[in-house]
Symmetry: C2
Amino acid sequence: MTGEDETATATPDGHKPLSHSPKSAKKRDAILRAATEIINVKGYALATMTEIAAALDLRDAALYYYFPNKQALVFACHQSSLERFERVLSETNQDGGAGFERLERFLRALLVESARNGPLLYFGDRSYLDEDQRHAIAACSEHLTRRLERIIQDGMDDGSITPCESSLVVQLLLGMLIWLAKWVPTVEGVTVDRLMAAIGVVGLRGLKNDAAGLHGRA
Amino acid sequence: MTGEDETATATPDGHKPLSHSPKSAKKRDAILRAATEIINVKGYALATMTEIAAALDLRDAALYYYFPNKQALVFACHQSSLERFERVLSETNQDGGAGFERLERFLRALLVESARNGPLLYFGDRSYLDEDQRHAIAACSEHLTRRLERIIQDGMDDGSITPCESSLVVQLLLGMLIWLAKWVPTVEGVTVDRLMAAIGVVGLRGLKNDAAGLHGRA
DNA sequence: CAGATATTCTAGAGCAAGTTAGAAATTTTA
DNA sequence: TAAAATTTCTAACTTGCTCTAGAATATCTG
């Protein structure tokens, strides 16, 4: 779950992956993408196996060739989304720069990634997962949250970000991002650039510390 | 649905309210509050009637004395939340002031209201409602969204808010607020003041227009 | 083309949750 | 305290969805 893992091919409880042929991996991903979109809109329980299958012109039973059960399918969606999130975070973080610039780069890159590969799974609702799955997801997403908090703190240290409670600020930013998956599809003609402009004003501009000139204070 | 309406006592499809005595109205509200919290955490389908009832030391069947069915119960939660939202918006809007100040007042007042009377219902998921209910909720929430957009636009006109796309900005702010209901309960010791401080940095500070460059406080 | 493998289907079993009916318990009223 | 009204319970019915078994179809390989 730290980024280089096998791409969500292993189910948690010891089940072996059900995809044998090379082609099936692509279809598996297609299922994950369709399931993510539907779950984002309707929620876990109302996203029936029948509907997910129908999005790919299949019957519900066909899904059980790729996943042992619905829980495992959705767990795989979670894993996939967290991995995509982490990949973007790592890529935009390793290029260096002040905290503020890294944060800005990350947000834009995440929007671009989502526009290209479909939305990330809304990861607020995990109550349908079992203990172990929930644990795994929670550990991973907390880890990512920490890394975002660190970027904010780096920014406060290097003077590029206004003093604030990084943990609260990160949650507020996440709220903006999570909600995106719901409303953006309902609006015509929203582009990454327009979104970034709005985020720039409401999210980033306030974080930017232009009182600088000297080193940031704690 | 414009604020002075009967407090969500009428069900949409012609059912009469099932609460006759004066006391039952209080219990009805208690049910709504408990249901809202549980739905926020688990989502509609996983918030079972059994669990909602258990939160009030009741059996599931008892809920049917107050609501004809689960759909109606949740619809009432939506109505209640929208009314509370509107009440806060109206109260903080009529005191006048520049757009920015009205927005700031509104956000703080909403946090205070939620801390006092329980969270608002997360209103992203409405797929379980029927056509008419969805229509009613959508109309009302769009109306509220417009009023928020107008505040932003007023602020741009009176010079207190930075030029931006008000519709996008409002959605981003709503995302922050909606997500609050999920994570705030999981963190120890979060107060309205600390939340407002964070929102001040990540949400409001960027919206504030100090382009005048004079000695306005940052 | 034939056999093997991979993928999807039909049909239905099993289960969990919403719902109902009517009986019990509680509270109110006189 | 007794009757009436209100509120909640028990127990069973109903529905819709997950998941299984095994047959049917498509795809691959030699």
